[in-house]
Amino acid sequence: MAKSDLDNANPTVLSVSQLPSRNLAKGHVRKGPDSKYDHILFPKQWWAGSSLNTDPSVWTSDEDEDDDLTLATEEPIDEQEIYDLLSTISDPEHPVTLGQIAVVRLDDIHLSPSPAERLDPNTLTNVEVDLTPTVNHCSLATVIGLAVRVRLENALPPNYRIIVRMKDGSHAQDDQVNKQLGDKERVAAALENDTLKGIIEKMLETCV
């Protein structure tokens, strides 16, 4: 596609480090010049050797840094996790991700009931994702919406209901686009289209 054909030839691109991430919130990871020997000086396992016992309580280590523990903690699916699923989708026009051009924003992802209220993982849950196109006449809004939908349907368990919309006022024809994205029949029909399917597969290639 030539530059002049693009809907928005020059969108603002954020660097990956600026995007919201779980690791940032998690806290202090030392990476200064003096941290070269942290693995020796602050080892996870206090003294060298190998335990015969699989019972981890025998083996002393720092609780908050233990990988096994993060594995065992119950962490319900939250907005950040949905964001992580979506932010790595590629933009159909530019070689950047939806997170980088802020089409997907953490603040515009809503779960109801919220993760804290959801005690039983099998509760029926609504996921609402509002997308913000980079320009309000973006002709690819529907394609992006479709890709987001496909990604979530492939990644979330069956008890999640997915609603993908254009954010209010962010798109000249948001009503029409929303209607299209909300209509199951039309979504299914769109996915029968090989060209469209190809574009979406391409967009989802960068998902990790």
């Binding site: 070269k36 000086l41 206090w46 003294w47 025998v58 993060t70 594995l71 008890n159």
Partner: protein
């Protein structure tokens, strides 16, 4: 004499090159035998008569009727001439007399006039041989050139190989000084022969020939005095090829485009007389604008640089062109975008400055350089005020000014002044950043110039003695400090980082005093202020609360690097820093600190260690002060003594968390040792350090005479009583190790005999890790002479004081033993293995085992593993009968036997026994000790025994082959390469048959236990070890999975183990699972569902999560390994299950489920 004729005939008829050269050699021999009598040479030359005569007729004919009827004869004729050429090649070069040479030259030279078809290759070759003859006269050389030039237009028609011969001939003649003289004599400056050669060879296109041609052309320029017209012709001859490229060819010729480029470049740079042509030509090419590609641009710039560097007489060859070059090149930087071209351009500018300065032996008049720099400054000054061009203009200026010392001393003050003025009124934060970057780079370049001051002209070094430096000294108060203190919203972290870098650069600048002594450029007070500014940045974290500390981590890290540089030269700075930090730390109460404060403590301590110890300080005097005694270890000592004074921060901790502060002190000390060791390794060769890592003295004996405060004394003193170590003396490493050992000794005595309260398991472990590092660094002799093996057990107190403290802490003290033992070399431990010696007593001591925690058992066991591993018995050891290890292993064999055949031993207690036993065995296993084999039947019986203790053995037997960091070469352990294979063969293999279910109730129980044992072993072995037993193993794994998923008891460790092994097999040899896919998938799905249903908490939850993750890993990887047709049947239920699994409770498991889902989605 007829033999020549025969040979000629043979030669002409032969097609084989070796045969031909044999024949030529025979002919040469014959001529040599007759001492080149006229008769023999004559008949040799006449031997090719038959072909030559016919030729003439042929040629006439073909001229007339213009057909190719003579082709066959042309080939024969060429071969005949080749015979002569080859003979000449083989002939003794001193044999032919001058008149014979002349005659032969006449003959071959004539060929260039009338035998263009057949005679050229051989003639050129023959002429080259004749040139090498002793009888060759220079005048003949001139004739040769003239003859060859008669080829004229037909030169182009020759094959590339023929032309190659001619180029070779030219090259050998032109390079010959006597021929050269003759040519000059004959032609003078009009150099007609050059013009003829140029005409002859124009339009050459063959790369190999071009390489020769480009070698030839510079010789015309350098060796012959040519008129301007001829010079221009020569210039045209090579410049026509510029820029040269090479088409990719299918058959490589061994010449690259770069070879050609370099060859053309060498032509340009060969002589300054082409300067007036070369520079306008090259600049013209460069100014073509967008039409020039990056690689061409680079070629041009490199060529210009080569010319500038290589032309003699820069005053006449370079100076007239400087303005033109500068005017064209500045835009390459100012508006350039490609880094390579910018760099190449700066290289050119630098080359100019260097040429104008002079050489290391002769300096040119200063006005040359000054005019050049003035031009640059005039053009760039205004750009510095424009944020768009600041960086580029600054780069240009800085490059030119810091090229050499003279340029620097001439112009740096003015340059710095311009930057400073602009910094007062910056247009934006990024403008400030760019200006600071320039300033910092200038300082950095100054430091580099200073470092290399001895490499240039002696005047350069002198220049530093009188260098004006006020403008630099003033930078601190005028530039850096105002930006730092005037921090506002505008001051971005990027700007602050630059300020920090600048401060470091400024404080480390060195200068020469008039007496030749090196000293720091800025005064003590400025250094001290800079230090305290940076120190404050680091200690702030401790003083402020989490919310108030807004300093960017990147700025703090930059401050760490800055301080590291500063204290290496301004050595008093480190003591100031450490004292400040110490005061801050002591201000706080460390009994129950918050996590934030603890992290702040860890950070500041770790930074202190890095700043002071990661570089060996330099011996630089302070400005205006006389030099002090140099102590390379002073920072390390300061750190060690301060940490010593701080310990313990938390004197009465009640939990591991509260003792963290104490452990951070030890880890800072440990960090200091690691960093200093690195610094030594960076400065000295590893080989050198190896020689300095030992001593034959007993340092521990020497320590006895020293007071406890020895380190403090060392640190306070000016080094007067100690060994004086110079800056570059590797002795510093030995002294460092000695101090380290002192520290270890002190720590151990404190830990064992001092107050026990501050010492928790974690603190003990830190101290032990530190000791291990120090002990590992000592060489074998020193380990022996200090008797470290014994000291490990009495904690450096041979007086055998009894360790104090409540026994609840005492068990963890065993970690200290481990610390020393793990670093010792086997030879240094030999004494321990005497019969009934320390090792045996320790390993077989079961006295208090019934009361200890399993964790303590692990420590004990690990020590036993090290002891069992480093054992050596036999002649001339302390265990001449090699009985000790045998007894020890038998002892534990008996213990296991008793515990599993009787019901006397409580499983909780047996767990501890078993831990020690297994570790001891593991240590011996790694060494492949044959005595281990005696225990095989005992262990196998124990596994099958009905009591619960048997289950413990079965579950833990994998410990024998479990990877253990301590059993590694770094820890001087004795590890046989195939020991896992060996242990597997003896312990696991015999069990396979017994583990198979037979349906019989009695054997079913034992079979289950055997399965557990096999899984325990297999999961700790690499895949290759159990590869050949896959068919048995896979059946066992599936049975194990099925059994537990059916019974719902999936928290059994063997479930996770089976899954792990299956994942491993799937990755390495999926074929082995092909027949069992259905069973694996069913069992996997069932296991996952069971695990997902289970809502247990705590450790069970952890085990369950691991099982879920592993199951998903296993199931998810299947589609990648098998064709769809094998999987289709399972796709639907699997996709359903994975959809549910992507809502797993654990995030880690969800991630795996997502991958699995993607993989299975492709199965349709």
């Amino acid at each position: 004499m007829s033999s020549f004729k025969d040979w000629a005939l043979q030669y002409v008829l032969s097609d084989d090159e070796t045969a031909q050269s044999e024949i030529a050699k025979k002919a040469a021999k014959e001529i040599e035998n007759t001492r080149a009598s006229s008769a023999s040479v004559g008949s040799w030359a006449a031997s090719i008569q038959p072909w030559i005569t016919i030729t003439k007729q042929d040629d006439d004919q073909s001229d007339d009727d213009d057909d190719d009827s003579g082709t066959g004869d042309i080939i024969a004729r060429a071969k005949a001439l080749g015979f002569l050429a080859d003979t000449l090649e083989a002939l003794d070069k001193s044999l032919l007399r001058p008149e014979q040479v002349i005659r032969l030259v006449g003959f071959f030279g004539a060929m260039f006039s009338y035998d263009h078809k057949a005679g050229i290759t051989a003639s050129a070759k023959a002429l080259r041989q004749l040139h090498a003859m002793k009888g060759f006269k220079p005048a003949v050389g001139v004739k040769m050139i003239e003859d060859v030039c008669k080829l004229k237009e037909d030169f182009k028609l020759q094959t590339a190989a023929t032309r190659f011969e001619i180029y070779e001939l030219f090259l050998s003649l032109i390079q010959d000084q006597s021929v050269n003289n003759e040519l000059q004599d004959k032609y003078g400056t009009s150099s007609g022969f050059i013009v003829e050669i140029l005409q002859l060879c124009q339009n050459e296109r063959d790369p190999r020939n071009l390489m020769l041609w480009f070698k030839l052309l510079p010789i015309f320029l350098t060796e012959y005095s040519t008129s301007d017209e001829v010079t221009e012709e020569i210039f045209k001859a090579f410049s026509a090829y510029f820029p040269i490229t090479l088409r990719n060819s299918a058959s490589p010729i061994g010449i690259t485009a770069d070879d050609l480029k370099n060859a053309v470049r060498a032509c340009f740079a060969s002589h300054y007389k082409v300067a007036k042509l070369a520079f306008p030509f090259l600049i013209g090419k460069l100014d073509q604008g967008d039409a020039v590609t990056v690689s061409v641009k680079l070629d041009i710039l490199k060529t210009i640089k080569a010319c500038i560097e290589q032309y003699d007489n820069p005053q006449t060859s370079i100076v007239p062109h400087i303005n033109k070059i500068w005017n064209s090149l500045k835009y390459e930087v100012r508006n350039g975008e490609v880094k390579e071209t910018i760099d190449a351009t700066l290289d050119v500018l630098r080359a100019i400055a260097n040429r104008l300065d002079g050489t290391s032996t002769q300096k040119f008049d200063v006005s040359l350089l000054k005019n050049y720099i003035d031009t640059v400054v005039d053009d760039c000054r205004d750009d510095l005020a424009n944020p768009t061009y600041t960086k580029q203009a600054g780069l240009l200026l800085m490059t030119v000014i810091t090229t050499n010392i003279r340029a620097y001393t001439l112009e740096s003050a003015a340059f710095v002044d311009i930057i400073r003025k602009n910094l007062r009124l910056p247009k934006s934060p990024s403008h400030t950043k760019d200006l600071l970057l320039l300033l910092n780079s200038t300082l950095k370049s100054r430091a580099d110039l200073f470092k290399n001051r001895k490499q240039g002209h002696p005047e350069d070094e002198e220049a530093f003695k009188t260098e004006p430096s006020d403008h630099l000294v003033a930078l601190y108060h005028d530039v850096y400090l105002p930006i730092w203190t005037g921090k506002s919203e505008e001051t971005t972290p990027e700007v602050l980082k630059q300020v920090v870098q600048g401060l470091a650069s400024l404080a480390t600048q060195q200068t020469l005093r008039p007496d030749g002594q090196i000293s720091l450029l800025v005064s003590r007070s400025v250094c001290s202020e800079i230090c305290s500014l940076l120190t404050h940045t680091l200690t702030k974290g401790l003083a402020l609360s989490q919310n108030d500390n807004s300093t960017d981590a990147a700025v703090e890290d930059e401050a760490v690097l800055a301080l590291q540089a500063v204290v290496a030269t301004y050595t008093d700075g480190y003591a100031e820093l450490v004292e400040r930090a110490k005061a801050e730390i002591e201000k706080r109460d460390w009994t129950s600190p918050t996590k934030y404060t603890l992290n702040a403590l860890r950070d500041i301590l770790s930074r202190l260690a890095f700043i002071g110890c990661s570089r060996i300080p330099l011996n630089v005097a302070l400005d205006g002060e006389s030099p002090k005694t140099f102590k390379p270890l002073q920072h390390f000592l300061k750190l060690a003594t301060t940490l010593h004074d701080l310990f313990p921060l938390s004197p009465l901790p009640t939990s591991e968390k509260e003792s963290l502060a104490n452990s951070y002190i030890i880890s800072a000390l440990h960090g200091g040792i690691l960093h200093f060791r690195d610094a030594c390794f960076e400065k000295f060769e590893p080989k050198v350090l190896e020689a300095y890592s030992g001593s034959d003295r007993n340092w521990l004996e020497e320590f006895k005479g020293l007071s406890k405060d020895w380190l403090h004394q060392l640190q306070r003193e000016d080094g007067s009583s100690e060994v004086v170590i110079e800056e570059d003396d590797p002795e510093v490493y030995r002294e460092f190790l000695r101090i380290c050992l002192f520290i270890v000794r002190h720590l151990y005595r404190e830990a064992a005999y001092g107050k026990q309260a501050p010492w928790s398991e974690r603190v003990f472990a830190q101290a032990a890790n530190l000791a291990a590092l120090v002990v590992r660094s000592l060489d074998e002799n020193l380990q022996k002479s200090c008797n470290l093996a014994q000291n490990a057990f009495n904690f450096f107190s041979p007086e055998n004081l009894s360790p104090s403290g409540p026994s609840s802490i005492a068990p963890f003290r065993k970690l200290l033993i481990l610390g020393i033992l793990q670093g010792l070399r086997p030879a240094a431990m030999a004494e321990l293995y005497a019969p009934q010696g320390i090792a045996e007593t320790f390993i077989c001591d079961t006295s208090r085992m019934a009361t200890v925690l399993l964790a303590v058992g692990e420590i004990r066991g690990t020590i036993c593993a090290v002891l069992a591993n480093k054992y050596k018995g036999g002649q001339s050891t302390f265990d001449p009968e090699s009985e000790t290890m045998k007894r020890v292993l038998n002892f534990w064999g008996e213990q296991i036997k008793t515990a599993t055949t009787t019901d006397d031993t409580d499983p909780a207690i047996f767990e501890v026994y078993n831990t020690v036993a297994m570790h001891t065995l593991a240590g011996a296993c790694a060494r492949q000790d044959k005595n281990v084999l005696a225990l095989v039947p005992i262990l196998h019986e124990a596994i099958a025994s009905p009591g619960p203790n048997g289950a413990i053995v079965a579950r833990t037997i994998g410990g024998l082959v479990k990877t253990n960091e301590l059993l590694s070469p770094e820890n001087h352990a004795v590890v046989k390469r195939f020991y896992k294979q060996w242990a597997y063969t003896h312990f696991a293999k015999p069990l396979y048959d017994l583990a198979l279910p037979t349906g019989d109730e009695d054997t079913a129980f034992a079979a289950g236990r055997y399965t557990t044992a096999i899984l325990s072993l297999v999961s700790n072995c690499p895949f290759e070890v159990y590869q050949e037993d896959l068919s048995h193993l896979v059946r066992l794994l599936i049975t194990a999975l099925n059994n537990s998923s059916v019974s719902g008891d999936i928290t059994q460790p063997q479930v996770a183990t089976s899954l792990e092994v299956l994942v491993e097999i799937l990755a390495n040899e999926p074929e082995a699972l092909k027949g069992h896919l259905k069973a694996i998938i069913t069992a996997g799905m069932k296991t996952y569902e069971e695990a997902a249903k289970n809502t247990s908490k705590g450790n069970v939850a952890r085990a369950l999560a691991a099982v879920r993750k592993l199951t998903l890993q296993l199931l998810g990887a299947i589609p990648k390994k098998f064709e769809e047709r094998h999987l289709l049947a399972y796709a639907l239920p699997m996709q359903r299950m994975l959809a549910t699994a992507s809502g797993d409770k654990s995030r880690e498991a969800r991630k795996v489920a997502l991958l699995a889902r993607e993989n299975w989605a492709k199965v349709v």
